[in-house]
Every structure is written in structure tokens, then in C-alpha cells.
């Protein structure tokens, strides 16, 4: 706790983090949505996004970070990510295909749509889980 407070007073750390966090998040989105065409994908994007939140939490303190991303969102996000992935599979089944058979989603670009959907699910689940892990560990350190 005391450490967090002192971190905030260090102007270089504070400005550096403030400058870096948006770019890290932007990079995470790039990795997420460009995963079909370049390196990366949902897992990598999720971890990079979580790294941005962890950096924010380290510099500005856990309380400020939890105001930006409350813990209850993360708990729900973890489940939503898995549901998005599984839901894509159920959607393909409802459209008459097998579980996760993306071709039925669209006559030409089915694979693209399916992959983007499941990668989004992975990204959400990983971002939320990793950030939540950090919250839980850091919270415990204060008690």
C-alpha cells in the first residue's frame, strides 16, 4: 500500500505509464484483429491488454485501477469470453453445421467470421483472467 502511494509521486513513472498504456492497449487491439494476417491472436492480445492494466495498477495503485476496470467486470468477462467461444459453436450448430464448423456462417467468408468470433472470445477471457489474477495477488499483499 505504502509502495503504491510512493509510486504515484514519481513523475517519470507516472508520465511514462500514462503515455504507454494507450499504446499498449492499441497494440493489443491490433494483435487481436490482425491475428488472421500477422502474428498474434486472441491469447497474445489478451495478455498484452492485461499487461497494460497491470502497469496502470502498479503505477497508480490498485484502487485507481479497480475504478477503471472493476473486479466484477473481470469476473463476468472471464465467463463471457468462454461463452462467446462456445456460443459461436452453438451458432454454427443452429445453422445446420457441426460444432465450430465456421463454413455455415457465411457462404464465402465463413472461416474468417468464425475465427474472428472465437479469437474475440479467447481475447476477452484471457484479458479478464490475467488482470483478475493480478488484482487478487496484489490485494492479498495489502492485508
Amino acid at each position: 500500500m505504502k509502495q503504491h502511494m510512493r509510486m504515484q509521486d514519481k513523475i517519470i513513472l507516472r508520465l511514462g505509464a500514462k503515455f504507454l498504456v494507450p499504446f499498449i492497449l492499441l497494440f493489443a487491439f491490433y494483435v487481436q484483429f490482425h491475428g488472421d494476417f500477422g502474428p498474434g491472436g486472441g491469447f497474445q492480445a489478451g495478455v498484452i491488454a492485461a499487461a497494460a492494466f497491470v502497469l496502470y495498477g502498479l503505477i497508480f495503485g490498485l484502487d485507481t485501477a479497480q475504478k477503471v476496470v472493476p473486479k466484477s467486470w473481470l469476473e463476468k468477462g472471464m465467463a463471457i469470453g468462454v461463452l462467446v467461444y462456445g456460443g459461436t459453436g452453438v451458432a454454427t450448430m443452429l445453422l445446420g453445421g457441426n460444432f465450430l464448423e465456421y463454413d455455415v456462417l457465411h457462404h464465402h467468408n465463413g472461416q474468417h467470421y468464425g475465427i474472428i468470433a472465437v479469437e474475440a472470445g479467447v481475447g476477452i477471457a484471457v484479458t479478464c483472467t490475467m488482470t483478475l489474477l493480478y488484482y487478487l495477488f496484489a490485494e492479498r499483499g495489502r492485508r
Binding site: 500477422g38 483478475l132 487478487l136
Partner: protein
């Protein structure tokens, strides 16, 4: 080639330094650098997806989690009595692994078995659906079930930590609510 040799030498030096180190804070930092160098190695081997993960998880988040754990315990490694069995187990395991590498194909060998099993079909299929990154095609489409399982594992791991660490903290909250707030006002 020389940069790979340099990275290998640095990795070995770091590993020895970590093994020798008693200060766990410094060891955690060296582990982080170790991961970053590994990520560089993966990039050189064109495994950029793996390098991403190694840099973000190994060098970033896991280091933060280790530091969080150190805050709960101690920064110093306790000096126990010297034990022979763990040393022999480690040396034996290392020797087995090195022995195992003798059967691996040469790095980049186009004749290696892995390049002739399902890989050609994956590459062709990925080309047919116009997705240049074959890794993504394999992960999300060909091996969609596996990745679903992995996502569930991540979810389950998060749930486990939440139940172990989060539940206890929340139950204690109502009683301690007054005390922590008071201390945080003092420190700020």
C-alpha cells in the same frame, strides 16, 4: 548466427546466476530478463506468436505475480542443508533431455517428419481460405476444439484463484472495512 550464439550464452549465464542467487527479488528480475531473451530467440526462429506470449506472460505478468508473492513472503532464500538427491534428479533430467535432442531433426530441415504429416494440408487449406497466418488457422479452425478447451482451462484457472484468494478476502471485508481505510488515509 552470431546473435543466436550470443543469446544462448547470455541465457546460460543468466540461468547460472539465478541458480546462484539468494536474493529472490533480483532472481525474479533475472527471470524476467531470461524470458525476454527467450522471446528474442523465438523471434529469430520465426515463431513470432510464441515470442509475443513469452514476452508478455514470461517477462511481464508472471514477474509481477512473483513480486506480489515475494511481498507476502520473504525476499531472501533460506539456506537449507545441502541435499544430494535433488541435485542428482536435476542433473539426470538435464542429461535425459540433452540425450533426447539427439533424435530431433536439424532445425529448419525440410525433410523432417513434422513437415510432411498434416502441415502441408494446413498450409494449403489456410491458403484456400485466404488467411496468411497459418498459426491462427490451425489454432482457431483446424484445432478449434483444442483452443476451446484451452480457453476453458484459462477460465478454470482464474476461477480457482478467485475461489482461493478472492473469496476469503471478501468474507473478511465487512469486519475489517473500517481498519484498512483508516490506514490508507494515513499512508496517503
Amino acid at each position: 548466427m552470431p546473435i543466436e550464439a550470443l543469446l544462448f550464452v547470455l541465457l546460460v549465464v543468466l540461468a547460472l546466476a539465478i541458480a546462484h542467487m539468494r536474493d529472490l527479488f533480483a532472481a525474479a528480475m533475472l527471470f524476467s530478463i531470461f524470458s525476454l531473451l527467450s522471446a528474442g530467440m523465438f523471434t529469430l526462429m520465426d515463431a513470432v506468436d510464441v515470442a509475443f506470449t513469452e514476452a508478455a506472460v514470461g517477462a511481464g505478468i508472471s514477474t509481477v505475480l512473483i513480486l506480489g508473492t515475494l511481498a507476502l513472503t520473504s525476499n531472501e532464500e533460506r539456506n537449507g542443508p545441502f541435499r544430494l538427491t535433488p541435485l542428482l534428479v536435476c542433473l539426470g533430467l538435464g542429461a535425459t533431455l540433452i540425450y533426447g535432442t539427439r533424435d530431433l531433426p536439424v532445425y529448419g530441415d525440410p525433410g523432417a517428419v513434422v513437415h510432411h504429416h498434416v502441415a502441408p494440408e494446413y498450409i494449403e487449406g489456410s491458403h484456400n481460405i485466404h488467411i496468411p497466418n497459418v498459426v491462427t488457422t490451425v489454432l482457431a479452425s483446424y484445432r478449434g476444439y483444442d483452443t476451446f478447451g484451452e480457453t476453458t482451462v484459462v477460465f478454470t484457472a482464474g476461477l480457482g484463484v478467485l475461489l482461493l484468494l478472492g473469496g476469503a478476502a471478501r468474507r473478511r471485508d465487512p469486519e475489517e472495512e473500517a481498519a484498512p481505510q483508516a490506514t490508507s488515509e494515513v499512508t496517503s
